[in-house]
């Protein structure tokens, strides 16, 4: 069973449907005790960083997620569920601490000399260049496939070796990370048609082996 963490994220239904289409047995889990029979955790997310982290803490899922990750068990974070793995966010008035699984801040897109009118949020399909050869997250997915993004902020991992895929939008940013059991994407695989479903199948398979 995959535990889909339910802390009130608006897109949980989409993620649940896509995981089922990818062959997963999914249960929505709102409390740490629901993780007893899980083989993998999926942390979805959309909206504000603080809302996500405050809800996770309120439901006492923060410690459980960190223990899970430290124990080397399969974890997939999506969008804000990816950003939550980092230290803190530069989002307006943000004061919530991230989970600190990876070192680095979550920063906002900035206009550049080349693109002074960069539109924020980035909304739409952008290419992901796979930067980790043989990364299981992208197994069966062609390099530079388009995935669906909706976001104004992105994490800057201090350790570049965790970056599994990168994308250009005014600046080059880490669109996905993959380090051992911890997989996470800034884009929405649940909204990225065939390539997104393939990525979710990769995680379902990885968790099934764990």
């Amino acid at each position: 069973m995959l535990a889909l963490l339910d802390y009130g994220a608006g897109n949980i239904r989409s993620v649940e449907k896509a995981l089922r289409a990818a062959g997963a047995d999914v249960q929505r889990i709102a409390r740490p005790d629901g993780l007893a029979h899980a083989r993998g955790i999926v942390l979805p997310g959309v909206g504000a960083f603080d809302d996500c982290l405050n809800a996770i803490r309120r439901q006492e899922l923060d410690g459980a997620v960190k223990d899970w990750i430290t124990a080397g068990r399969p974890f997939l974070g999506i969008c804000v569920g990816y950003q939550a793995l980092f230290d803190r966010s530069a989002e307006f008035n943000s004061c919530a601490l991230g989970l600190g699984v990876f070192a680095g801040p979550v920063v906002r897109f900035q206009p550049t000399a080349a693109e002074p009118h960069l539109k924020v949020p980035q909304i739409g399909w952008n290419e992901v260049e796979i930067t980790q050869a043989g990364c299981p997250l992208f197994a069966g997915i062609p390099d530079r496939s388009h995935f669906y993004f909706v976001h104004s902020f992105y994490p800057q991992p201090a350790d570049a070796s965790v970056v599994a895929g990168r994308t250009d939008y005014g600046q080059t940013f880490a669109a996905a990370v993959c380090k051992d059991n911890v997989w996470a994407t800034q884009f929405h695989p649940e909204k990225s048609q065939q390539v997104g479903l393939q990525l979710l199948r990769n995680f379902v398979e990885f968790a099934g082996r764990g």
Partner: protein
């Protein structure tokens, strides 16, 4: 590079996709029935549509109930972004549609009547969820006015000013529909599309007037739109989404191609 998006729009009337001949004719019977919305959504999904917009043209309580069913069924089968518009008047209406499986909600007359609804929605669900749709009509050589109620009611607002205000309030995307061009198949209104797109820091979706492949390219190039929305050109089988993208790619416009 971020791809420009091609978005089929499904006008839904009592659970069926219909297409009005021109603005505001839905009630007077000027409608052609096109088919089942979920089947059409699956067809466009398979053709490589980047998103789908479902628009409830009845905007009635009954229409809303059948729309919830349409969205739930479409979201079960299409793993792509879905937007719902028409008849969304409150934060609760937004919540209902998002829970049914929509990723974004589009508001138009209700935002004009109550601009605070944009902020309420953006604060609760995030700006990326809130699309403000603007129906603009050229009323003088250099003035485009915003109309409410499906183009029937003048608001006195100037289109660029209203688009800017909507974004300040929290709109994450603007759909700009030209009342003059809608249904004519004679091309988008490039001038107002470019002006709005250059005036706001969020993506602008051009709507109204698509009749040829050239029209789609020119509104993305000269019109500076981030996405194109069209209905008839797809519904009546003139072009597939894939054909539109092949043409746009030939013109040097970045588009997402399906992985085969």
């Amino acid at each position: 590079m971020l791809a420009r998006r091609v978005i089929p729009c499904l006008d839904v009337h009592d659970g069926k996709v219909t297409r009005g001949v021109q603005f505001g004719r839905a009630e007077t019977g000027g409608l052609r029935e096109v088919g089942d919305p979920v089947e059409l959504a699956i067809r466009y999904n398979d053709q490589g549509a980047d998103e789908m917009v479902f628009f409830d043209i009845t905007a009635s309580a009954h229409g809303r109930r059948s729309m919830i069913d349409v969205i739930e069924r479409a979201a079960d089968r299409c793993f792509m972004p879905l937007t719902v518009g028409g008849g969304i008047r409150t934060r609760e209406d937004m919540s209902t549609m998002l829970q049914a499986g929509a990723d974004k909600v589009s508001i138009n007359s209700s935002a004009l009547a109550n601009p605070g609804l944009i902020r309420e929605g953006a604060e609760k669900f995030g700006a990326q969820c809130i699309v403000v749709s603007i129906d603009a009509k050229k009323v003088a050589p250099d003035r485009w006015e915003v109309f409410a109620k499906g183009g029937r009611e003048a608001t006195g607002l100037e289109a660029v000013a209203w688009a800017r205000r909507a974004v300040e309030l929290g709109a994450g995307e603007i759909v700009l529909n030209s009342i003059d061009a809608d249904g004519t198949k004679k091309g988008f209104d490039l001038v107002i599309t470019a002006r709005v797109s250059e005036s706001v820091g969020v993506p602008v979706v051009a709507s109204g007037g698509a009749g040829s492949l050239e029209h789609m390219a020119e509104v993305l190039l000269a019109g500076k739109a981030d996405a194109v929305l069209a209905a008839s050109i797809f519904h009546f089988g003139e072009f597939t989404v894939g054909q539109v993208k092949d043409y746009l790619a030939q013109r040097g416009i970045p588009v997402r191609r399906l992985v085969r």
